[in-house]
Amino acid sequence: MENSQSEPTKKKCCCCSTGEGGEDRRCFCCRAMAVLCWLGLFVPSAFAGLWSLVSPLFGRKPGVMEVRVATLDALPEDGTPQKFPIIADRRDAWTQYPAEPIGAVYLRRVKDTVEAFQVVCPHAGCFIAYSVEKKQFYCPCHTASFKIDGSRIVEPRCDSPRDMDRLDVKIVNKTDVMVVFKKFQTGITEKKES
C-alpha cells in the first residue's frame, strides 16, 4: 500500500479521457457512475413496488349501474326532494359485498318526470343536505348551497365548482324509478366520472 501511494500513477482515468487520474485514479464522473450503478440495483424492487402501488388506477371500471331506487308514489307530489340510498353490490379490493348502501341520491318529482341528483357535493365530497324550511340544498361542510333544481346559489359565494350532479332517470312500468348511478370527480368545474 505505502509503496503504491508513494509512486503516483500518471494514468488517465479509467472511463474518460478528460479526467486527470488522481492518486486513487477516480474522477468525479467515475464516482457518479459507481453511484448510478449502485442505485440501479434498486430499480427492480422500486419499480415492482410502484407498479403494484398504482395498479388500482388501471382497475376495471364499473359498468353502467342501473338501480331501482323507489316508486313514483313514494315521491312527494309537491316536488320536495327526498333522499334514497343506492343499494348495489360493491367490490372493495379483495372483498365482494352483496347488496349494501353504496351512496345516495335525491329524487324529486316534477309532474310526471323525476329528477335525480348525486348526493355528493361537487366541492369536496361531503353529502348535501336539504332544508325543508328554505327549500334549498346545502352542504354542511363548507356551506355551499343549491336551489331546489340543483343549480348553485352563487351569491354571496358558492364553494361548489359546478351545479349538483344530475343523474339519468328512467321510469319503468310507470312506477319504478331507475337511476343510472355514477360518481363524479369533485373540485373541478367539469362533470367527469371518477
Partner: protein
C-alpha cells in the same frame, strides 16, 4: 466493574461516546431555550413505543380497523392509556415542531451555518403533520373517515393529474381496504421513520454547529452534563405530565357503570359509514386555519378553465409560503432580510390564530353543526353499546351491526318510506314529523293508550287516527260514533259497555306482546281475558273483525294485533286478506303501498325483509338495550 467498563469501551466505544456527549460544551451555558430538540426526541421515542404496541393490536382493513381500535380502547386493560398517550403525544409533537421552527426564526438561529437545522425543523413539522393526517383515518370512525375524504379529494383540485393522484393515494376510486393499508404504511413507515431520522439529524447538526453563536468557554458550567441534561429532563417530565393530564381529563366526574376506556384516553366515534356522511367532520386543530382560509374563496372555475379557485388557498398559497420559509435562511443574508422573515412569521401566526378562532366561533354558534355533532354522538354510543352486547360485532364489521339495528335504522327507514303519510310524533311534539299527515300517527304503536284511541269516537275520527284517510267516514268510525254511542245511552248496559271499552284495548294491546308492557300484561291477565270476551259482546268488534278464528273479515284480523309478525305482515302487504284485503269499495286498503308484495322475488320489493323487520321492531320499541 471498571475492568468490565474498559473492556466494553475498547470493543464498542459506547462509554467514551457517552462521556463525550455528557461533557460536550454548550456555548453560552445551558438554557431552557434548548429544550425543544430533546423534547422532540423524547416525543418520538414515546410514539415509537406506544405506536408499536398499538400496531400489535391494529387491523388495517375496512371491516376490522374501527373494530380493532374499539377493542383496544374498551376491551383490553390499559388500551385506553396506550391510545391516549399516543394520540395526545402526537398533538404535542406537532405543536413542539411548530414552536421549534418559529423559535429558530425568532432567535436568528436559522442563518448560516444553520440552514439545514432550520430546514430539518420545517421538515419535522411537515412530517408530524403527515403523521397527524394519516393517523386521523386509521381509527376508521366517522370523523376521521369524512375529514380524510374531504382532504384527499382536494387532490382532485390539481389540474390534469388530480384524479389519478387521488386514486393512487386512496387505492381506488373509493375509500376501502387499500386506503387503510396505504395509510398505515405511510403513518407507521414513511412518516414515522422519516420523523425519527429528522430528529436525529437535527441533534447531530446542533452538535456540529453548536446551540448558539456565543463564544465557547472551557468551563465545567458550560458542559451538557452540568445543567442542560436536567433542563431537558424537566422538559420530558413536563411533556409527560401534559399528555397524561389530557389522557385523564375526564377522570373526575360521574361515570356510573362505565368502563375506563369509555371516558379516558383518546376519542373514538361511530364506525365509518361510506353511505352516510358525517356532516360535522372538521379537520384537526392544526388545519383549522387552512380550512377557514379556503372557505373565503369561491368554488368557481378560474376564467375559462375547469380548475376551481379553491386550488389557490389549498395548494398555491400554502406551497408559496412553504417555499418562502425554506428560502428564509438566504433571505436573511439581504439587508433587512431577518426583520422581514420575523415579520412574515409573526403575521402568519396571527393570521392562523385568527382564522382558527373564527372557525371555532362559527361552529359554536352553528345550530346545524351542533345538531350533526349530537346525532353523531348518539350513533357512537349505540355502536359501542351493540359492540359490547352479547351478540357483539359480526364478521361483517361494526357497520353491518349498525345497519341491522332497529333503533338506528328504524327512524331512518320510517322517515324515508312512511313519513310522507304517517307522522310518528309524541305528545311532547318530539319524533318524526310529517309534512302533510294523511294516515294514523304511529307514535306508541300497539300500546294500550294507542289502541284505546281506536275505540274513542272522537279520536278515531281525528287526525291521529282515521281523520285524514278515506276511512274518515267509514264503517269503523261510523260504528264507534253511532252504534256504540247508542249503546252508551242505554242505561241498562252502559256500565257494561264502558267496562268493555276499557278492557278491549288492554286485551288487544296484549296481543302485541310489547317489551314495554311486559309487566303490565303479566299483571292484568284477568282483564285481558275479559277484554277478549268483550270483543264479541255489546261493542261487537267481531261483526267486522276476526279474532282467533271467530268473526268476519271485513276489517283486519285482530289476532296477534300489532305483534311483530302482524306488523311485518301489514307493512309487507296491507292489501292481504289478513289486513285490508276487502274490495276497495267495502273497506279495503286506502293508499298504503305494499313494501314486499312478492315474497319469492325479493328484487321486486321496495324494502327487504330485514328492513321491514327493523321497521316493525322499531315501531314496537323492540331493540337491544344494555341494562
Amino acid at each position: 466493574m471498571n475492568a468490565l467498563i474498559r473492556w466494553l469501551d475498547s470493543r464498542t466505544g459506547v462509554v467514551s461516546a457517552f462521556e463525550a456527549y455528557w461533557t460536550r460544551r454548550i456555548p453560552g451555558g445551558p438554557g431552557w431555550r434548548y429544550v425543544l430538540p430533546s423534547a422532540l426526541l423524547f416525543g418520538f421515542l414515546v410514539q415509537a413505543i406506544s405506536g408499536l404496541f398499538m400496531w400489535m393490536a391494529y387491523s388495517a382493513n375496512a371491516q376490522g380497523a374501527w373494530e380493532s381500535v374499539f377493542w383496544l380502547q374498551e376491551c383490553t386493560r390499559g388500551g385506553w392509556l396506550l391510545r391516549g398517550i399516543h394520540v395526545f403525544t402526537g398533538h404535542a409533537i406537532v405543536a413542539m415542531a411548530g414552536l421549534y421552527a418559529i423559535q429558530l426564526i425568532l432567535s436568528g438561529m436559522y442563518r448560516a451555518p444553520r440552514e439545514f437545522i432550520f430546514w430539518i425543523a420545517m421538515a419535522m413539522l411537515f412530517c408530524s403533520l403527515g403523521l397527524m393526517l394519516t393517523g386521523d383515518l386509521l381509527r376508521w370512525d366517522q370523523v376521521g373517515y369524512w375529514s380524510t375524504q374531504v382532504r384527499t379529494r382536494f387532490l382532485m383540485l390539481i389540474p390534469i393529474i388530480g384524479g389519478d393522484l387521488f386514486q393512487a393515494v386512496v387505492g381506488g376510486s373509493d375509500f376501502g381496504h387499500l386506503t387503510l393499508t396505504r395509510f398505515i404504511a405511510l403513518h407507521a413507515g414513511v412518516c414515522a421513520v422519516g420523523f425519527g431520522v429528522l430528529v436525529c439529524c437535527n441533534l447531530a447538526l446542533l452538535r456540529r454547529h453548536g446551540l448558539s453563536n456565543a463564544p465557547a468557554v472551557d468551563s465545567p458550567e458550560q458542559q451538557y452534563g452540568s445543567g442542560q441534561w436536567c433542563r431537558n429532563f424537566c422538559g420530558w417530565v413536563v411533556l409527560s405530565a401534559i399528555v397524561l393530564a389530557l389522557v385523564f381529563q375526564n377522570y373526575w366526574g360521574e361515570h356510573p357503570g362505565q368502563l375506563r376506556g369509555e371516558y379516558l384516553g383518546a376519542h373514538l366515534g361511530a364506525p365509518a359509514n361510506p353511505a352516510e356522511a358525517y356532516s360535522a367532520a372538521r379537520p384537526e386543530w392544526a388545519f383549522l386555519a387552512l380550512y377557514q382560509f379556503a372557505n373565503i374563496f369561491p368554488g368557481e372555475g378560474i376564467a375559462g378553465t375547469s380548475v376551481s379557485w379553491k386550488v389557490v388557498p389549498i395548494f398555491v398559497i400554502p406551497s408559496t409560503l412553504v417555499c418562502l420559509f425554506f428560502l428564509m435562511p438566504f433571505l436573511a443574508r439581504l439587508r433587512g432580510g431577518h426583520v422581514f422573515n420575523v415579520c412574515v412569521t409573526l403575521a402568519m401566526l396571527v393570521a392562523c390564530g385568527a382564522l382558527s378562532w373564527a372557525c371555532v366561533a362559527h361552529d359554536r354558534d352553528n345550530e346545524i353543526f351542533q345538531r350533526d355533532v349530537a346525532a353523531g354522538h348518539l350513533e357512537e354510543l349505540r355502536a359501542k353499546e351493540l359492540a359490547h352486547s352479547p351478540q357483539g360485532i359480526p364478521p361483517g364489521g361494526a357497520i353491518s351491526m349498525l345497519r341491522n339495528d332497529a333503533k338506528i335504522q328504524g327512524p331512518k327507514l320510517f322517515a324515508q318510506h312512511c313519513a310522507s303519510c304517517h307522522p310518528c310524533v309524541g305528545p311532547d311534539g318530539k319524533g318524526i314529523p310529517c309534512q302533510k299527515p294523511s294516515a294514523p300517527n304511529l307514535f306508541g304503536f300497539g300500546t294500550r293508550k294507542w289502541v284505546a284511541g281506536w275505540l274513542d269516537a272522537k279520536q278515531i275520527a281525528g287526525p291521529d287516527y282515521f281523520g285524514k284517510t278515506k276511512f274518515a267516514d267509514g264503517q269503523m268510525v261510523g260504528h264507534m260514533r253511532d252504534a256504540v254511542k247508542e249503546l252508551l245511552k242505554d242505561k241498562d248496559i252502559a256500565d257494561d259497555v264502558k267496562k268493555q271499552l276499557a278492557m278491549i284495548p288492554i286485551a288487544l294491546s296484549a296481543e302485541a306482546g310489547l317489551k314495554s308492557q311486559k309487566e303490565a300484561d303479566a299483571a292484568d291477565k284477568a282483564k285481558i281475558a275479559e277484554g277478549r270476551e268483550a270483543l264479541g259482546e255489546d261493542v261487537d268488534c267481531l261483526s267486522c273483525h276476526k279474532f282467533q278464528g271467530k268473526g268476519k273479515t271485513t276489517g283486519c284480523d285482530l289476532t296477534g294485533y300489532a305483534s311483530r309478525d302482524w306488523t311485518i305482515g301489514i307493512i309487507s302487504n296491507p292489501a292481504d286478506k289478513r289486513f285490508y284485503g276487502q274490495p276497495k269499495e267495502a273497506s279495503g286498503n286506502d293508499r298504503m303501498p305494499a313494501y314486499a308484495e312478492s315474497p319469492n322475488e325479493p328484487a321486486k320489493n321496495l324494502l327487504s325483509q330485514r328492513e321491514i323487520e327493523m321497521l316493525a321492531d322499531w315501531l314496537r320499541g323492540e331493540w337491544y338495550e344494555h341494562k
